[in-house]
């Protein structure tokens, strides 16, 4: 950046050229002694060109050429963007390989980007620039702003029928949630809720395990709190960990949104696509005060980052751990750890759990009917391989897999499959959804509440003032 900016300055060339003149003299003086720098550089440049040219003739070369010269990829190659790293990334690659096995070696070009805001920025810019992928992954809550921006194509019943799918093949909750303006904006792959991890050994010592070796059902606030007290006695420290520092804003939000929605008086946090703050302040205070009371009693940590919060449960320093089910991969990789996963207990009036879904979207672009069919075939192929995906903890949205015996025997994944029906998604807003500006702002304040540095009232004030910019700005979508 800086270099380019400087080269616009004509003064620079004056001094640089002077230096250059001297160098010419130096070079000529030295040329008799051996290889001159210029010759060396020329040789290096030449050497660098060879593999580039060679690359153009090979299979990946067509991709390189498409990037450099804008030539078209073979039309049969489907371009697919996703945001999966870690265990999810590995499983997604296995599923991509499954698609390639069926449709040929060059049938797919899959690209993985860093998740969160940067990913959705890329999808948006590529679509606005008329170079979007054929199929992209999006969180359900982020697909809505994309749809509002006119960046997605609706998926019609004919599209679904062309690859043998229909609405009844999907979990009710995500399917109904994605319906927007009477259209299908995406095809859900899974539901990924907040869940409760527990350490077998700690919970057994605390007398919380039933005869079958799973955590006893904790049906209300009193039972839950006495369980926390019992675990705390065993660990001589926190009973339950919730990550809330070092930039971790998503987890405090997920936990808050779960307990908040278990209240029968819960109202949406945001309404009218993010232009009104409609949070029920009494419920907000009740939930956050309760959390603070747990921290004050030493049952819940006051400040732990994501990895440390998790390691507390892994190492028995805590009995319970609240996080998304995707941490199952990390938990399974810990040697000698006996753990289980259950839905977050219902402490208030009704069952509710914060969740989102990974979905497939079709970005707006010119497609032939064949290309459209191919994109749908790809989605179908991914859905068919949902069992591979489910191993990473996500609850399959595709019912033929979710109801299969193979999934039901998948433990502990199937222990919390029921959560999908009580999933609560983030409120639609142009600045909302998973990993969004909204989650960052609200989650940061909730993290401070847990650290006891802010009272619930102060946090709410801070949230109101920081959100006011977005509440008062007309949606750019």
């Amino acid at each position: 950046m800086s270099a380019r900016a400087r080269l616009w300055f004509p003064h620079t060339t004056h001094a640089a050229a002077a230096a250059h003149d001297k160098e010419v003299v130096n070079d000529m003086a030295r040329s008799s002694t051996g290889l001159s720098r210029r010759a060396f550089l020329a040789a290096g440049l030449g050497a660098a060109t060879v593999p580039l040219l060679a690359g153009c003739s090979s299979g990946t070369g067509t991709t390189v050429a498409a990037g450099l010269f804008g030539t078209k990829l073979p039309t049969s190659t489907l371009i697919y963007w996703n945001l999966f790293g870690g265990g999810d990334g590995t499983r997604m690659q296995a599923m991509e390989a499954g698609y390639e096995k069926q449709y040929g070696a060059n049938s797919l070009q899959a690209t993985t980007f860093a998740w969160g805001n940067p990913y959705y920025t890329k999808v948006t810019l590529a679509t606005v620039g008329n170079k979007p992928p054929d199929v992209a992954v999006s969180h359900l809550t982020r697909a809505k702003p994309l749809w509002d921006g006119g960046l997605l194509e609706p998926i019609t019943d004919d599209d679904l029928a062309s690859v043998g799918l229909s609405a009844s093949d999907f979990s009710q909750r995500p399917w109904n949630e994605q319906r927007t303006d009477g259209q299908n904006i995406c095809v859900p792959l899974d539901t990924h809720p907040l869940v409760m991890f527990y350490n077998d050994d700690v919970c057994r010592k605390a007398g919380l395990m039933d005869s079958s070796g799973t955590l006893k059902k904790l049906n209300n606030l009193d039972e839950f709190e006495s369980a926390l007290a019992a675990i705390s006695k065993v660990t001589k420290g926190p009973a339950m960990t919730i990550a809330n520092v070092a930039g971790e804003t998503a987890t405090p939000w997920r936990v808050f949104w779960t307990f908040y929605n278990q209240h029968s008086q819960a109202t949406p946090f945001l309404s009218d696509n993010g232009s009104k703050l409609t949070v029920n302040e009494d419920v907000f205070n009740d939930v956050t005060t309760r959390l603070q009371s747990w921290v004050k009693k030493g049952w819940v940590n006051s400040g732990l980052d994501y990895a440390t919060a998790e390691s507390y449960m892994f190492t028995g320093k805590a009995g319970l751990y609240l996080e998304g089910e995707w941490e199952i991969t990390t938990a399974q990789s810990v040697k000698g750890l006996k753990f289980g996963i259950v839905p977050v207990p219902t402490l208030y009036d009704k069952a509710a759990t914060q969740a989102d879904s990974h979905t497939f979207v079709l970005p707006r672009k010119d497609r032939t009917p064949e290309q459209r069919k191919q994109a749908m075939l790809f989605i179908r192929s991914m859905l068919d391989q949902s069992l591979t995906w489910a191993k990473g903890g996500h609850i399959p949205a595709y019912q033929p897999v979710a109801r299969s015996a193979a999934y039901k025997t998948l433990k502990p994944q199937s222990d919390y499959a029921s959560v999908a029906s009580s999933a609560v998604y983030d409120d639609p807003a142009w600045y909302g959804g998973s990993g969004s500006t909204f989650e960052n702002i609200v989650g940061a304040q909730l993290g401070l509440v847990q650290q006891l540095t802010l009272s619930p009232q102060e946090a709410l004030q801070a949230i109101k003032s920081q959100l006011s910019v977005y509440l008062n700005t007309p949606s750019p979508l």
Partner: protein
């Protein structure tokens, strides 16, 4: 180039002396000059002037990233929003903080290294190459290198800390107090070479006779630097400082790649806020307003620097 000597006339002095300078160019040469300028002029218009004017216009509208056209008229709402946003001010402060951290070392170190290198008669090319080499690397590469160096507890930085008996903490880039320093160190290492080359070029234009005369008069090496090198390089220093301040105010790559603006928003700089507003929030109008404000800040700083420089030059004269 060859006529550039120690007694470089100041342009202002020429104007004041009343000398008239007759150009050897004829009037008809003008037309072909325009022709030669045209290719660059077109680019300049299409990619610099055009977008700048468009930005100014957009800053008064609720322009969206995903909609065509300017959108509804916003008046000064975008400016009012930016000026009342705490994160706009904090990002501006971080930009100034980065400029303060990087400009002095980049000017002073470049000067010191250039003077030292210039003392070598043989093998000077090696030092010139060594100091300039990092500059040709892309920002992504240097960011990777330095993130690697700053890796908590196992990185090179932590290793050096343990040699001195310091227990490595959570890493330079993980603490809000030190993250910007980490980025500044990486930047100094990266861009030192450019200022270094300017100084080397300046040094080689200082006539040897001056040093010889000074040596004959018994001036020490330090006196020679103090009374010959530094004054003779004054114009180079002026240029280097100006370019450096402007480049530092436009910081984006390293911060984006090394800390992503974190921890929290403790290293978020203005350009990052602007890209975030424009391409993540899809609000081109608001982002344009922020750009215009940053543009004004840079111009003001450049003017202040120019004025102080001018008054210093007057004092000298």
């Amino acid at each position: 180039m060859t006529t550039a000597t120690a007694a470089r006339p100041r342009p202002r002095a020429v104007r004041n002396s009343g000398l008239t300078y007759r150009s050897p160019l004829q009037r008809k040469d003008g037309r072909s000059a325009w022709l030669f300028l045209a290719p660059f002029g077109v680019f300049y218009l299409a990619f610099l002037l055009g977008p700048t004017i468009y930005m100014l216009v957009m800053s008064f509208f609720n322009t969206s990233m995903v909609r065509t056209g300017l959108g509804s008229f916003a008046g000064f709402a975008n400016y009012a929003e930016m000026l009342t946003r705490p994160d706009f001010w904090s990002s501006l402060l971080h930009t100034l903080q980065f400029t303060l951290y990087t400009t002095p070392p980049l000017v002073i170190l470049a000067f010191v290294f250039a003077v030292l290198t210039n003392r070598f008669n043989r093998g000077q090319w090696f030092f010139r190459l060594a100091f300039f080499l990092p500059f040709i690397l892309p920002s992504a590469t240097i960011s990777l290198i330095w993130v690697f160096v700053f890796t908590p507890s196992t990185g090179l930085w932590a290793m050096v800390e343990t040699w001195f008996g310091i227990t490595p903490g959570s890493g330079v880039l993980s603490s809000p107090n030190t993250a910007m320093i980490g980025v500044a160190i990486a930047t100094v290492w990266w861009t030192l070479g450019f200022n270094f080359v300017l100084y080397i070029a300046g040094l080689q234009e200082i006539p040897r006779e001056l040093y010889e005369a000074a040596a004959v008069d018994g001036a020490s090496a330090w006196s020679q630097i103090r009374f010959i090198t530094i004054p003779m390089l004054a114009r180079t220093t002026t240029l280097v400082v100006l370019l450096q301040i402007i480049a530092s105010l436009k910081i984006f790559d390293q911060v984006y790649l090394m800390t992503g603006g974190g921890p929290g928003i403790s290293t978020q700089v203005s350009l990052q806020l602007i890209t975030g507003t424009a391409f993540t929030d899809n609000r081109l109008g608001a982002a344009s307003a922020a750009s215009v404000l940053l543009f004004i800040v840079i111009i003001v700083i450049a003017i202040i620097r120019q004025l102080t420089d001018r008054s210093a030059a007057k004092k000298e004269a």
